[in-house]
């Protein structure tokens, strides 16, 4: 179905040649891809506090620390006073080596550069630079700058421990030499301050304008003996890198890559990754599981275009670059509405005789309940079926207490186990190994999956409002979407479901036609989820926020004793009205009774009356705020 990809001709390899030039990548033909220009997307949305972590000038570890802002390593750094970052406290710390600048902004002299002095006490976990002596940091800074090529935006951190600067000063390096995530973090942090020749400043002055865009695009960490923990801070300091080589390290399992996994929201700009020469890859290849390795890698690194120098076969979209600073971004109003522009509408059926849909559903669902094997006729040999369990407890159903509701005694007996064991294909959760086997193709395979699932009862003859049907034509066929509920055996608890079909006319001489089906099912996807009330699709206005008069009736158990005593003086049949008015007006029982008595016990009239006079009511007319 998919043709195999042809590598794009002339994939330019600016970054790659830089890597090659530095002896970082093997001389193979493909390589780190060049990146799209202009760059600098997402700078503002990816805004990070650039409070530089603690740098203790005195090395005393005292509680008040002088912090050096390394947000720029360039000499031309000028900070207009108007743009003072909000998180900068003016330093007047005793003992700090501050120099009062004419702007009255405190600065620290370091390496002949001036840095604004910041004061903060960041959380311990972020003290990347803490405890490093000035001299050590100078050496690391020298190393990082030496290894960076601003032309290609390539940072070559290959074989760190062999570098002469490192050797000369005896710096502890991450990886083979025993250094930890923190040593690696220092390097990444310093790297995050590197800039290209042209310094771009964010135009969004509401943000700190001194934030420069992250500019390092290519990082090679080859030949360092790294394990997973050394990557802890890579995304924190270099979240926008595009090309990453981890060649010839000691990454053993997928857990080692969690700190950089796109599935976990890390390194979301990554286009090329090299994992060659790591056990996580090589062990799989040596046992003939190279395909599995690729699958798992691509599942974790969603944005990749090249993995280990091979193009990733993928389908593209006109990617919405969610980045207000992108030069091409058109300024549009941000969403700010406080109401819904449209009501909940009734079933939408278009381009097809509604009888086609209802005939199909009124045959399919009862047969699914009682005669699943006979449904084989409704599928073609190429038809697909899968089901997914969404096991999340629905928020509103939880508030309504549907799981432990006196009128729904079987809900607690429901179990997800038969669905999970039966092959739920929730791709949000499923491991890759089951993706193919949980997709059932052709009647016999589909029926086999059906008969392994719990017995269901869809009560189509009961309340029709328990189901919602939308149907309209699409290219491949008629799209039919059903939302509703069924009773699950053996617990007899209620589940909600969504089921989407693609239908096509049954060919004249087909098995489907011979068995009374006007249509065949091309695709059948079924989501099973926790029970929610069908009033979710009740037609009418939809609310964004609550209004007081949508409050449910007050639970009498939550009433104070005096109010409860008053309620008990009311005939039992009238108590629900009192409790409803109490909920929807927040009036206490006494005032609710007065209001109902004055309005012939008509709740809507009482509520309208209440709304007219509520401003004149004394505070003690109302229930205490927290009572529900």
């Amino acid at each position: 179905m998919f043709s195999s990809p042809t590598p794009a001709p002339g994939a330019r390899t600016i970054a790659a040649s830089a890597l090659r030039g530095a002896g970082l990548t093997a001389d193979r033909d493909t390589t780190m891809r060049d990146v799209e220009r202009p760059t600098g997307r997402k700078a503002a949305s990816k805004h990070r506090s650039h409070r530089v972590r603690v740098y203790d000038l005195n090395g005393t570890g005292s509680s008040s620390r002088m912090v050096i802002d390394l947000s720029s390593l360039s000499l031309d750094y000028l900070k207009p006073t108007a743009y003072e970052p909000h998180d900068v406290a003016r330093s007047s710390l005793p003992g700090s080596q501050t120099v009062q600048h004419p702007t009255s902004f405190p600065y620290v002299e370091l390496q002949g550069y001036r840095f604004p002095a910041l004061v903060e006490t960041p959380p311990a976990s972020s003290r990347i630079l803490a405890g490093k002596s000035t001299r050590t940091l100078e050496h690391w800074t020298e190393f990082v700058k030496k290894r960076y090529d601003p032309q290609t935006k390539c940072l070559n951190l290959d074989s760190i421990q062999d570098d002469e600067i490192i050797r000369k000063h005896g710096l502890q390096t991450p990886g083979k030499a025993g250094g930890t995530a923190r040593e690696a973090g220092v390097i990444f942090k310093l790297a995050s301050k590197l800039k290209p020749p042209v310094c771009l400043i964010s135009l969004h002055v509401s943000f700190d304008p001194t934030i420069v865009f992250y500019k390092v695009e290519t990082v090679s960490l080859a030949n360092n003996g790294l394990i997973g923990q050394h990557l802890t801070y890579l995304d924190k300091y270099l979240p926008r890198i595009v090309n990453l080589s981890l060649q010839n390290n000691n990454l053993r399992g997928w857990k080692d890559l969690e700190f950089i996994s796109g599935r976990r929201g890390k390194l979301l700009k990554l286009r090329e990754l090299v994992l060659m020469g790591n056990p996580v890859r090589e062990n799989e290849y040596q046992t003939g599981n190279g395909d599995r390795f690729k699958r798992e890698a691509l599942r974790r690194f969603l944005t990749l275009e090249l993995l280990d120098q091979e193009p990733v076969t993928k389908i593209a979209f006109d990617v919405a670059q969610v980045d207000p600073t992108a030069p091409t971004a058109v300024a549009v109003p941000a969403p700010s509405a406080t109401t819904f522009p449209f009501k909940m509408g009734p079933s939408f059926i278009d381009g097809v005789d509604p009888a086609v849909v209802s005939n199909f559903l009124s045959r399919f669902l009862p047969m699914f309940d009682t005669q699943r094997p006979q449904l084989a006729d409704a599928y073609t040999p190429a038809s697909t079926f899968s089901f997914s369990a969404n096991t999340t407890i629905p928020s509103r159903a939880r508030i309504e207490g549907l799981h432990h509701h006196p009128q729904l005694p079987n809900q607690p007996k429901l179990s997800w186990k038969p669905w999970i064991d039966g092959g739920s294909r929730n791709l949000q959760r499923l491991s890759n190994d089951k993706i193919a086997s949980a997709l059932h193709v052709g009647g016999p395979d589909i029926i086999q999956a059906f008969v392994n699932l719990p017995v269901t009862k869809h009560d189509l003859l009961g309340a029709p409002e328990n189901f919602s049907v939308d149907a309209f034509l699409t290219g491949p066929g008629l799209l039919v979407i059903v939302h509703g509920q069924f009773i699950e055996a053996p617990s007899q608890g209620i589940r909600s479901f969504d089921r989407t079909f693609i239908l096509a006319p049954a060919p004249e001489d087909s098995r489907a036609r011979a068995n009374g089906w006007d249509v065949v099912i091309l695709s059948d996807q079924w989501t099973i989820r926790g029970f929610s009330k069908p009033d979710a699709w009740k037609t009418g206005p939809l609310l964004v926020q609550a209004t007081i008069d949508t409050n449910p009736p007050v639970n009498p158990r939550h009433l104070p004793a005096d109010q409860m005593a008053l309620l008990n003086t009311v005939p039992e049949a009238q108590r629900p009205a009192v409790l409803e008015l109490c909920g929807r007006s927040r009036l206490n029982v006494k005032y609710a009774l007065d209001c109902l008595n004055g309005n012939a016990w008509d709740i809507e009239r009482a509520l309208a009356n209440f709304n007219e006079v509520k401003a004149t009511l004394p505070p003690d007319a109302f229930l205490r705020p927290m009572a529900s």
Binding site: P311, K314, M344, P346, R429, H483, I502, A536
Partner: protein
Amino acid sequence: MSANPPAPATVPLTTADIEIATRAADAFTRIYYAAYDSTSRLSELPKLYRPSSALVWNGTPFQGPEGVVSMVQSMPPTKHEIQSFDCHPIPGTSPPSLLVIVSGSVTHGLGAAGNPSGTSSKNKEGHPRVFSQTFMLVPDSEAPPPSKAGELAKYFVSADALRFVG
């Protein structure tokens, strides 16, 4: 009903096909909901549609990128959470159309935090809704040929149907 039913698929689905479809659905759902939830929703979301695209929002139909704009421009801010999704390559289409279904929750506006004081803790309004959304993703025959290595085709949303279901 469609006048020309799709020819029976002659090429069976391969594991690679299924993986590519799964990755596409994974990427698409992330792109789509990130765009929907972003402040630049109004410029980003229509890019995923074409003039022929059919949309239905809780029973109300819209057409094409302009329909997307009229649908979302007065929609309150959203935050979607994907809880489950699934994807099928549609038999008989090549490159295959992809049917993607998503189940999750969506919070509108300020959520429960934006409810007025006096709102009962048992009042469900303002709390996240469950949504169910179905997308038909199809290759864009008018898109320029893929320029990147590995890129098979550019897809767009040809059909999109959403309902609040909980």
